[in-house]
């Protein structure tokens, strides 16, 4: 009798616990969706009226910063150059590093974990620090603020994201797949580049997307390193505008038209990230079907 009641008490407690946590999860999901919706709503509400074809097809004209004609094409192109360039650079460097960590250093768990720890630390370093570091480096080398300097600094900023993103995917590949590959007589590089890279392709795409998102959205690291200009850069050594800085400058203007254009620029930035996300989803889907499920 006693035993029985104890059991049923436990049962009801478990039931309430289950109930409680389901609601917590339910609520947090909705809160996140709500916040996201609110952000997008604010940007769209203020930005859409100011958005025009002129905004995305023209560079700033003489009176642009007083609310007159012109657009932010310089910043759009600049941001794309910077985002794509730095993502590409970080990918070219990061992919081999991640593969190396998981294939050649497979038996050196301690070394790999140390590398992971350092990368996670770097991931957490605020981007203004990268900007300051980049600035110091530029002064030391006698370089001027330019697209190239920006690409390099941003690449450094996103490298930890890139490496750790790919590394997380590689880390979870079971040893059996390595054994299968080696048992066929594959070398380490064949195993890394022909087998493991394919297996972890969805993770690679996600890592690239995350890196790109961070690269195109970052403001602090480019503040000193890319400069700002109304022209579209025609070479790596020229300074360049970026969308985040364009938003920043326009937002701090006292003129309402200019302020509104900051939101329009934000809409453009969000749209770029959205397009890249959708593209990457499509690619992930196409590659996912080849990955072996464990």
């Amino acid at each position: 009798m006693k035993k029985n009641s104890g059991k049923s008490f436990k049962k009801t407690r478990l039931k309430y616990e289950e109930y409680f946590f389901r609601w917590v999860m339910f609520l947090s999901n909705y809160i996140i969706a709500l916040i996201l919706g609110f952000i997008i709503y604010t940007i769209l509400k203020t930005g859409i009226p100011a958005l025009s074809l002129e905004m995305i097809t023209e560079t700033p004209k003489g009176g642009f910063y007083f609310g007159k004609e012109g657009g932010v094409l310089n910043a759009i192109i600049g941001s794309l150059y910077l985002g794509l360039g730095s993502t590409f650079l970080a990918f070219v460097v990061g992919l081999p590093v991640a593969l190396f960590m998981n294939t050649w250093l497979m038996n050196k768990k301690r070394t790999v974990n140390l590398v992971r720890f350092i990368l996670d630390l770097l991931w957490g370093v605020p981007s203004i620090v990268y900007g300051a570091f980049g600035f110091t480096l530029m002064v030391l080398l006698g370089l001027k603020a330019s697209l190239l300097a920006g690409i390099i600094v941003i690449a450094l900023l996103i490298l930890p994201i890139m490496i750790r993103g790919i590394d997380e995917g590689l880390k979870n590949i079971p040893k059996g797949l390595y054994e299968a590959s080696y048992s066929l007589g594959s070398t380490k590089s064949e195993t890394a580049f022909k087998v493991m890279m394919k297996q972890t392709m969805p993770c690679i795409i996600t890592a690239v997307l995350l890196s790109f998102g961070r690269a195109i959205g970052d403001t602090a690291a480019v503040l000193f390193t890319t400069g700002f200009t109304d022209n579209i850069p025609t070479s790596l050594s020229q300074p360049t505008a970026t969308l985040p800085l364009a938003i920043f400058f326009q937002l701090s203007s006292p003129i309402p038209e200019v302020k509104q254009r900051a939101y329009a620029a934000a809409v453009i930035l969000t749209a770029i990230i959205l397009v890249i996300s959708i593209l990457s989803r499509v690619f992930t889907y196409r590659y996912k079907k080849h990955s072996i499920k464990f």
């Binding site: 497979m106 048992s183 066929l184």
Partner: protein, 297 residues
Amino acid sequence: METTHFSSSLLEDKNEADASIQNKETTYFYRKKVDGANQETERNKGEASKIEVRGLNLKIKNKVILNDINVKIPRNKITIILGPSGCGKTTLMKSMNRLTELYPEMNVKGEIFIDGEEILNSRRDVTEIRKQMGLLSQRPYPLPMSIYKNVAYGLKISGRLKKRFLDKRVEHYLRQASLWNEVKDRLRDPASGLSIGQQQRLCLARGLAVDPDIILADEPTSALDPISSQEIEKKFVELKNNYTIVMVTHILRQAARIADYVVFMYLGEVIEQGPANEFFNNPKTEITKAYLKGSIN
């Protein structure tokens, strides 16, 4: 007496399986290195066993996993490594193609000879050594690519080939693994979409494509349904004319059905080894007798 009775019924199973396979006219073997293989056999005629393990010891952090293993595995036969789980069968098999190198915690000492040539401490390129052996694992691990590319991968690893030859060879090895008819219309589909049984046969085709002399199979049927398991067993009986097959199992009946030679392990040691007939009908040690009776698992 009881033991003998039990095992002879097991052996009947084996004879049936053998007979049913010989009735089939499925001998479409042609091998890339036929000449080379013959030469090799010529050269090693004195060498009775294909693989010989001598004084192999393996420790993990001072824990003895394999203790002084001495095994001779005969050429072109099916050798079954038998024993309760955890006794070191997988580890012994991994030593043979040096996959133990993927486990830094393993400390391997001893010698393994293949065709009389030492491989464990050899300076030879380990990839070359591994190409002599195809591996089937407990759970199939197809490569993350299409069915076609899985087999082509093995072919490409063993040398560059023209597209035309590649198609032919891929078909050949898929046929050898009895998979061709099921996949010929979807060669470009991802291998991950195959059933587990099909995946295991794909792994067999891929392993054969590297053109090894030896097939190492670690409980290759343990994840499979009974029909797929039977297909793998049949395949092995066919393949033993051309390959030396080493298979790990803990299923007594399976061992009895297809074994020519048995290595029986217990707690990291080889207790007994010999021809299957002798092993099942006339076990020498008490442990073997107990195992055959089913009182050790």
